[in-house]
């Protein structure tokens, strides 16, 4: 499988605090990679560096062969980023929002329409797309912004806490969408999450972070075997407490 993301020794500091220390990992096309860690572990910093919003102090990452340091504008053409708790333009209707995002990624009208249709299908909001976003529930907004993240069929979709604050059913719907898009369109996903169950059921690979470094990395099954645990929560506890 083709490499979608190749992270090579990236590091980032905020003043004296080292948020990310020499992290390297890879994600292949169609693969879902889950980043787990406590608050302040450095997950969001990694995602923001890969989304070209922050510049790594050292190291580099290549998305579809493009360097986030040397050619960030090329990187932006093959990624999408969903920040934690991200909102949408509240005065727009859901339909207008998806059309607006499609317009950012494609100049050709036909491609824009295809992109929008995919977004419309993925979010599953039906007639509600005609309503303004400020009338949406949290779950509806999250489905809408997830749809806009995957509808341009990026090489890599970066999702920060995609199900944060959602109820069980909405969370299940979101996970289903992520898996479907990875399988159908070959999109690689990098997602951060506090929910071990989410990572266990969604991700092909996972990593546990603490204080800016990867303490453990592998498929959920490999991690369970390696740490002789029944759940990823147990693995997480063992890894973090023993570090």
């Amino acid at each position: 499988m083709e490499l979608a993301l190749d992270v090579q020794h990236i590091a980032k500091s905020y003043g004296k605090k080292q948020a990310v220390k020499d992290v390297s990992f890879q994600i292949h096309q169609g693969e879902i990679f889950g980043l787990m860690g406590m608050n302040g572990a450095g997950k969001t910093t990694i995602l923001r560096m890969l989304a070209t919003l922050l510049r790594p102090d050292s190291g580099d990452a290549f998305i579809a062969g493009n360097s986030i340091v040397q050619t960030p504008e090329k990187v932006r053409a093959c990624i999408t980023y969903l920040p934690d708790e991200a909102g949408a333009y509240r005065t727009m209707t859901g339909k207008n929002y998806l059309q607006f995002i499609a317009g950012l990624y494609f100049k050709d009208e036909k491609q824009q329409k295809e992109c929008f249709s995919l977004g419309e299908e993925i979010c599953g909001l039906g007639d509600a797309l005609q309503q303004k976003i400020n009338t949406y529930s949290r779950g509806m907004t999250r489905k809408l912004v997830l749809a806009r993240t995957v509808m341009p069929r990026p090489k890599l979709a970066i999702l920060d806490e995609p199900t944060s604050g959602l109820d069980v059913l909405n969370s299940l719907d979101i996970r289903k969408i992520i898996r479907q898009c990875a399988e159908q369109y070959g999109t690689a996903f990098l997602l951060s999450s506090h929910h071990m169950q989410e990572v266990a059921t969604t991700a092909h690979k996972a990593a546990i972070m603490k204080d800016g470094v990867f303490l453990a990395e592998g498929s959920p099954q490999e991690l369970l075997q390696q740490y002789q645990a029944e759940t990823l929560e147990e693995v997480f506890e063992k890894v973090v407490r023993n570090s």
Partner: protein
């Protein structure tokens, strides 16, 4: 109660707010003292009466003594021959004067006729407030003094003569030229543009700044800015689109505000113009438009193009500065105070240009105000009307350079970590 109060205060009095407050404190003291000294300077002048005495009689001496007894400082030029009043005023740095012509005393005391005196007013600014501050009203003061002297000292029988012994012929001086016209009438006809334009500009700057700062801050809070900045659209396109949208919205506001002011002022000016025309017909004063033309106070077509260009540059500067301030906002509270620097840097040049002539202020103050790019637009029409072309075009070049510098800074900010971290990044990796 104390517990809650502490919590509320700690939320309201954050580091960003205190820093903004400190900056405002320094700027208000600085500009406040400039305004105070400017007003004091002009108020000091209002105790002066300027007389060009071509008659030089005991009676004209008596006028001087009478005025001094009333507490005025009377400054007199005893000139028999001079007709070049504009250079006399300029040489003595007077903004106005009254001319007592040769034979004035004879006319008044022996012939008991309505006697002519001339009122000279030099226009240095087109702000009616500035003129009201700067003009000492010498003609009115001397006329009253003559009436008082006649009624107290000279027992003239004709009551109607004592009530109205002199007729004041107004002369206006500007750009080294003189016309027989009332300065009030000339200013009235210019105030439409020269006072309305700075007001509209002031509103425009404040509106656009507020719009941009709150738009960027909202995008940051909603994290839609992160979505935009990670999309395949260049940062400069994002910045330009935001600025252009604010500019268009602001222009709509300005058209609505401006047209309402224009209609209201047009109504008043029409009435005033009717009165002026009647007065001109009776007194033989020069037609207002002819007078403006003779004095060189009219702005050419290319001059207006230059004024519009400065307006546009000023708005662009305000928008770009607001993009920077909005980008540095950390939370919703910060967005409320972020526009303070723009508000201060706009308000003071605006007020000072209304109440004083910035071009004639003392050097350090003047140059300090010239450093604020908005100042140049507030004084633009004044520069053109009073033929200060160097300052006008120099101001425009300065605005262009200023815009280029802050546009570069805005672009760098939106390409940097500072937007999200509010900390300067180390320079190990250079991102293109």
């Amino acid at each position: 109660m104390i517990h809650l109060l502490k919590k509320e205060l700690s939320e309201l009095l954050n580091k960003q707010m205190l820093l903004g407050l400190l900056l405002s404190f320094i700027l208000i003291i600085l500009f406040g003292s400039i305004m105070t000294s400017s007003v004091t300077e002009t108020v000091d002048d209002t105790g002066e009466v300027h007389i060009i005495d071509q008659d030089q009689t005991n009676f004209t001496e008596q006028i001087k003594t009478h005025l001094e007894q009333q507490g005025y400082t009377v400054l007199i030029i005893n000139e028999n021959e001079t007709e070049n009043f504009e250079s006399e005023l300029s040489a003595h740095a007077w903004s106005d004067a009254v001319v007592l012509p040769e034979g004035f005393t004879d006319c008044l005391l022996n012939q008991h006729q309505l006697c002519q005196i001339q009122s000279l007013t030099e226009l240095k600014t087109t702000s009616s407030i500035g003129i009201a501050f700067g003009n000492t009203g010498s003609a009115e003061i001397v006329s009253s003094a003559i009436k008082e002297i006649l009624s107290e000292t000279y027992l003239v029988d004709e009551l109607s003569f004592i009530e109205n012994p002199v007729e004041v012929t107004p002369y206006t001086i500007a750009n080294g030229k003189i016309v027989q016209a009332s300065s009030t009438a000339l200013i009235g006809s210019l105030s439409m543009f020269d006072q309305l334009m700075p007001l509209i500009l002031f509103l425009l700057i404040i509106l656009t700044a507020q719009m941009i700062i709150s738009a960027v801050a909202t995008e940051k809070m909603d994290k839609t800015l992160e979505t935009l900045l990670s999309s395949p659209v260049s940062r400069s396109t994002i910045i330009c689109a935001k600025m252009l949208a604010a500019l268009i919205t602001a222009l709509i506001y300005v058209i609505v505000y401006g047209s309402s002011f224009f209609i209201a002022m047009l109504f008043n000016v029409d009435n005033a113009a009717d009165n002026i025309n009647i007065a001109e017909a009776f007194t033989g004063l020069m037609n207002t438009q002819d007078a403006l033309h003779t004095l060189g106070l009219q702005i050419s077509f290319w001059g207006w193009i230059g004024v519009i260009a400065q307006l546009f540059l000023t708005i662009c500067i305000s928008l770009t500065a607001s993009m920077i301030l909005g980008g540095l906002v950390e939370d919703a509270k910060g967005s409320q105070t972020a526009s303070m620097p723009i508000l201060i840097f706009t308000t003071f040049p605006y007020i000072l240009s209304m109440i004083s002539d910035i071009r004639n202020m003392t050097s350090p103050v003047k140059y300090l105000l010239y450093c604020i790019p908005f100042t140049h637009t507030f004084i633009a029409t004044g520069c053109l009307r009073f033929h200060n072309y160097g300052l006008f075009w120099g101001g425009m070049i300065y605005q262009l350079v200023f815009l280029a510098v802050i546009a570069f800074a805005a672009l760098k900010l939106y390409q940097s970590d500072l937007l999200f971290t509010h900390q300067f990044a180390s320079k190990k990796n250079k991102q293109s």
